[in-house]
């Protein structure tokens, strides 16, 4: 809700208010920050619509996806579509108006999409794919390709090959009637630093691996049983836990509580030392300490994704043209090997404490985080000079990596596999047997939708569904899904294409900003049941 502000004519302020741009994109900057916005604005997305006429050729899904990229201000987009606008296009595509009839669909949708956001540049290619695609360098301007099904195999193959070779992601989207699906083809390695993990899971308090300064803070407490009530009731819970861990270890051969049973015993120990003979009848900081035991008395976290990254060949064998990501990853790996922990993220949860104590503890964590970043930076600089790299990696990039180290992910496509639809169209046996085995455990019963959408991926030799299963009931489901797709003959339902367009754009934003973890595989959507599922086909 906005409050109306009366117009005013005071002298303009000496300060510049946030730019209009900052205001316009305020609500999304909260999701992917200025760095994500920059990446988005540096992007050029290509939307390809197939030449062979089949209903609306999933073009509405593609255009709806573009709409959701134009609004948050993708840098540029290009629509390649050789079709002319028909009357039924008008009934299903919001970005066409009655003046568009019989004109180029690429040109008309470009025009109306461009109206959405003056910050975005739109282009249209109206010549058939077979003519412009083979031209040398035709795909060079783009860093994401969205292809709308159906596209003939030889053309699709060319797109897939190009995307893999130049390490850019590509998306294949299909929408017919109530059914829709999209697949993402990733480059051989797709690293993500800012995966935006749940803040709860990123907490790293180092209770089981305190560094000297944190230990010193515990020392300075002295014997807490002799503290006056006020001070006793304001010891930050982190220090309480560290204090009693020492006592526990002294009585347990130097071991920390590790099993559930030991942790509960440890919690009872902490609870027994809370003072209850005060007016409140208890102490909030001790309550917080007890509540944190199970969650926080754990070894410093390291995600399996980070471990996988450190084992990757790209991480262990650097070259002078390794991406920045891998140079930092290598330094992080060295840090981990030296210290047995990752760099400290440095953030502290809220807790009962005096302001001064809290701020002191907070600066302790921050200082440690800074010194860890400094160590990683030294390693990075060393590597840079060893490899005689020309540019130095920005400080901020190293810092961001250190902060997220435990949650960094590298998605991979090691076998350079193209879209499953393409593999299915060429009758690839591996793909067919993979679908057959997925069908055996398809609880959501969504794979038949994908099979239906792709049964005629190769028009000259339709898919033989009997190769997928011998189960008569499942066979009937597959046949029904295939028949449903044939019945609507490529006609899109605006509403379904709008949903799948939203999903495709969401994934595109993740891919372009390199933030959040995108869908890895094929997403299938059944609009009759409002269900979706993701499969690695």
């Amino acid at each position: 809700m906005t409050t109306e502000i009366a117009p005013r004519d005071v002298t303009p302020p000496p300060l510049q208010a946030p730019t209009a741009k900052e205001k316009k994109y305020d609500r999304q900057l909260r999701l992917w920050a200025a760095s994500g916005q920059r990446a988005l604005e540096d992007s050029h997305v290509l939307l390809i619509v197939g030449d062979e006429y089949q209903g609306s050729n999933s073009s509405v899904a593609g255009v709806e996806a573009l709409k959701n990229l134009v609004l948050p201000s993708v840098g540029s987009f290009t629509i390649a579509d050789s079709a002319q606008v028909t009357v039924s296009d008008l009934g299903v595509n919001f970005f066409l108006d009655s003046d568009s009839l019989h004109k180029s669909r690429a040109e008309e949708t470009r025009r109306l999409l461009s109206e959405l956001n003056p910050d975005v540049t739109g282009h249209a290619i109206t010549t058939p794919l077979a003519e412009w695609l083979p031209v040398e360098g035709s795909l060079k301007p783009y860093n994401l390709i969205i292809a709308c099904a159906p596209i003939p195999s030889e053309i699709l193959q060319r797109i897939c090959f190009y995307a893999l070779q130049s390490s850019i992601p590509a998306i294949y989207v299909q929408s017919a009637g109530f059914y829709a699906s999209f697949s993402i083809q990733l480059p051989s390695a797709f690293p993500i630093v800012d995966t935006h993990p749940d803040p709860e899971s990123t907490q790293d308090l180092r209770l089981l691996a305190p560094w000297p300064e944190l230990d010193a803070a515990v020392d300075s407490l002295g014997d807490i049983s002799s503290l006056p009530d006020h001070d006793h009731g304001h010891i930050p819970y982190i220090l309480i836990l560290l204090y009693f861990l020492r006592e526990w270890k002294a009585n347990h051969n130097g071991n920390s509580p590790s099993t559930f049973k030991e942790k509960t015993e440890f919690r009872d120990l902490v609870r027994s030392r809370a003072r209850v003979d005060n007016p409140e009848g208890g102490e909030e900081n001790f309550d917080e300490a007890c509540a944190a035991v199970l969650k926080s008395i754990t070894p410093p976290p390291i995600d399996s994704g980070c471990k996988e990254m450190m084992a990757m060949h790209l991480c262990t064998s650097l070259s002078s043209d390794s991406a920045n990501f891998w140079v930092i990853a290598n330094a992080i790996k060295q840090f981990y090997e030296t210290h047995g922990v990752l760099p400290l993220p440095g953030s502290l949860p809220d807790m009962k404490a005096t302001s001064a104590e809290y701020i002191k503890l907070q600066s302790l964590y921050k200082a440690k985080a800074r010194s860890d970043v400094a160590e990683v930076t030294t390693t990075v600089r060393h590597t840079e000079s060893l490899l005689s790299r020309e540019t130095t990696i920005p400080e901020s990039e190293i810092e961001a990596f250190c902060r997220n180290a435990s949650h960094v992910r590298v998605l991979t496509n090691p076998a350079h596999e193209p879209f499953p639809s393409l593999r299915l169209g060429s009758g690839d046996h591996k793909t067919i047997s993979r679908i057959a085995s997925l069908l055996e455990n398809d609880w959501e019963a969504l794979l038949p939708v994908f099979v239906g959408l792709n049964a005629r991926a190769n028009p000259s030799s339709p898919l033989d569904v009997t190769a997928l299963t011998s189960d008569p009931e499942l066979l009937e489901t597959l046949t029904k899904a295939t028949a449903e797709v044939e019945r609507v003959s490529g006609g899109e339902l605006h509403n379904i294409s709008s949903v799948i367009g939203g999903m495709v754009a969401q994934e595109a934003i993740k891919l372009l900003t390199r933030q959040y973890v995108p869908v890895d595989g094929t997403c299938v959507f059944d609009g009759i049941r409002s269900k979706s599922g993701v499969y690695k086909i």
């Binding site: 609500r27 999304q28 709409k67 959701n68 009931e473 019945r487 939203g502």
Partner: protein, 631 residues
């Protein structure tokens, strides 16, 4: 080929229902724009759209029906105008108004086949929920926050309503933390937004909800001191407009009040006391800063920069208030005030700068104004993609609603891009809104007395005995010991058009459940009776009796642990209020008369064979997503 060929093809017989339907869309914001587009292109026959808001720059990144040139224009009217072009065949009606206005009464709500909620606040959501329940019109409720979103179908007696689950209340902070002992940036921001700004520019009697007074009694002395401080600040307010206003304010809140705190030596025995700031020193430092530098919102400002922004925003706000006050005095309007608005740069700058100056005093880290905006404004991140998905899902639920397949509607969640579904919950028998019986009365407001209502409708027509209580929002208007009101006109008791009354049966023996009656100003057909019960043809209102303990089925059966425990109960079903998720919504099978199939866990092969086994749902443990607000 006709324009609607694809829709006809895919929807089959449902297409006719769609074309003949009359729907209401409440809200033309993020989800509203998407929904309107989908409704128009799907071919819904008549669409009413209502919104109170005007268009703001920060809407344009997702509310795609609006452009730069539409800023400050009414959302509902622009949305209609833009969307109409895309399907001239659809009847579109726009209302730039508040959905809570009396003109949108029950009769008006009753004229729709479906209502879609695409709202940004709980209050309006609750209102629409109540209205839809009262006239038994299905409601499709939706919300998004960032990459998350949800869709819920609300149908009287079949599914849970918006108020069946308690909604979370906003966080509040103890007064002393905010006023005397801040330890985190948020404490300083709340101080600037909920204390300083209202004290200077607002109605100071307003009690900000962010302050929690529950601990006040422990600090009687300190609270009294704080009250005096606020009094002194009010005095300074009178010097607004004078040249040294900024210095007065500054010295008061950043120096004197802090000095008083420092002098309370007990508080700072073994910790660093706050350090008051000096106006002169900061002014000196600020003078060396080039005033044309760009103070962007992403960077953290230095103390002197905060000082500059403080002085500047204070002066802007003072001018504004003075101007509005002089305007108001001419027209004898109430004195204007300035309240916090995250998208109002003047208030935002003021809160950022004063919050940061206070943080500096207490040795707390300062924040960029971008971050402060988030913390002060409760900004809900919003993007086009999530809104597109949620709006599309709403329409798919609408198809099922139009076909009357309520048992097949689902609760849908979007969680970072993946769609999850769950069965809708049964109405909560403890729900204050939908657990009561509902009825409507037509009233001749010129004539009707409370007696007409109690005697003619409640006792004669509905069979209530002597022991009953009638309540309005203001309280009890009738019970056997309070007969004075009986001769009064309903309007004298503030019972007006579009208001509700609650009737409680107080008989000891087999009492009825509570009844909520909606009042509609319309002369009953029988002229002799000024109040008449409204009943649909062939239906009679029969108010169920309160269930006794013996009637309650064993609560254990509806425990959420049993993933597929479809439970069919006879008569009135009661579940313990502690049960979070009840899976007793009867599914397709049960609806047709056969008992719901009891599945013992998802048997993979069986399900894979038959896609019609919709009883298998993804079991979401975490059901605590907030229904978000996208404006």
């Amino acid at each position: 080929m006709p324009r609607d060929q694809y829709a006809r093809q895919s929807l089959g017989s449902t297409y006719r229902l769609v074309k003949e339907s009359r729907v209401l869309l409440v809200g033309a914001g993020g989800i509203g724009c998407e929904l309107l587009k989908n409704l128009v292109l799907t071919g819904f026959g008549e669409i009413h759209i209502i919104d109170l808001d005007t268009i703001d720059l920060s809407n344009l990144n997702r509310q795609f029906l609006f452009r730069q040139e539409h800023i400050k224009k009414p959302k509902a009217l622009v949305a209609k105008e833009v969307a109409q072009k895309f399907n001239p065949g659809v009847k579109l009606i726009a209302h730039h108004a508040n959905i809570k206005d009396r003109q949108f009464n029950l009769e008006w709500f009753a004229g729709f086949n479906i209502v879609f909620n695409a709202l940004d606040n709980m209050d309006a959501r609750r209102h629409v929920n109540k209205m839809c329940l009262a006239v038994d019109v299905p409601l499709i409720e939706s919300g998004t926050t960032g990459f998350k979103g949800q869709v819920q179908v609300i149908k009287k007696d079949k599914t849970a309503c918006y108020d069946c689950t308690a909604k979370t209340t906003p966080i509040s902070y103890p007064v002393c933390t905010i006023r005397s002992t801040p330890s985190q940036p948020i404490h300083c921001i709340v101080w600037a937004k909920s204390y300083l700004l209202p004290e200077l520019f607002g109605v100071s009697e307003d009690e900000p909800t962010e302050l929690d007074h529950s601990g006040d009694t422990d600090n009687v002395e300190e609270i009294e001191k704080l009250r005096q401080e606020a009094q002194a600040l009010k005095k300074i307010r009178e010097s607004m407009g004078s040249d040294d206003f900024a210095k007065h304010v500054f010295d008061k809140v950043f120096k004197e009040d802090i000095e008083r705190l420092v002098n309370m030596e007990d508080m700072w025995k073994d910790k660093k006391p706050p350090e008051p700031l000096s106006y002169e020193t900061l002014e000196q430092e600020a003078s060396s800063i080039n005033s044309s530098i760009k103070l962007d919102g992403q960077r953290i400002w230095s103390p002197a920069e905060n000082f500059i922004v403080f002085k500047d925003s204070l002066s802007r706000l003072s001018h504004r208030l003075a101007e509005e006050q002089s305007k108001a005095s001419k027209t004898a309007q109430p004195l204007p005030t300035i309240t916090f608005d995250k998208d109002d740069d003047d208030t935002m700058d003021f809160v950022a700068a004063t919050g940061n100056l206070r943080a500096i005093i207490f040795g707390i880290e300062t924040k960029s104004s971008f971050d402060i905006k988030q913390m002060a404004g409760n900004i809900i991140p919003a993007i086009a993609t999530t809104n597109a998905m949620v709006a599309g899902l709403c329409v798919m639920q609408a198809f099922k609603v139009l076909r009357g397949e309520f048992t097949r509607t689902r609760w849908l969640w979007l969680w970072n891009g993946s769609l999850r579904t769950d069965q809708l919950e049964k109405p909560n028998p403890e729900c204050p809104v939908c657990s009561v019986a509902m009825g409507r009365v037509h009233v001749d407001l010129e004539k009707a007395t409370l007696n007409d209502l109690v005697q003619d409708v409640l006792r004669t027509r509905l069979g209530y005995g002597e022991e009953l209580t009638v309540l309005t929002d203001a309280g009890i208007v009738y019970d056997p010991d309070l007969e004075d009101n009986l001769e009064k006109k309903l309007t004298d008791l503030d019972i007006e058009d579009a208001s509700f009354i609650l009737v409680k049966d107080e008989e000891d023996d087999n009492p009825r459940i509570d009844l909520r009656l909606a009042i509609e100003a319309k002369k009953p057909t029988d002229q002799s009776k000024p109040v008449a019960l409204v009943e649909k043809e062939g239906e009679t209102l029969d108010i169920p009796r309160r269930p006794t303990k013996e009637d309650a089925p064993n609560g254990g059966d509806v425990d959420g642990d049993d993933a597929n425990g479809s439970v069919v109960t006879n008569g009135f079903s009661i579940a313990p209020p502690t049960v979070k998720r009840k899976r007793d919504l009867v599914d397709d099978d049960a609806a047709s008369g056969t008992p719901a199939k009891k599945l013992q866990g998802p048997v993979a092969a069986e399900v894979a064979k038959n896609s019609a086994l919709n009883a298998i749902v993804i079991d979401e443990d975490d059901g605590t997503l907030l229904i978000a607000d996208d404006d």
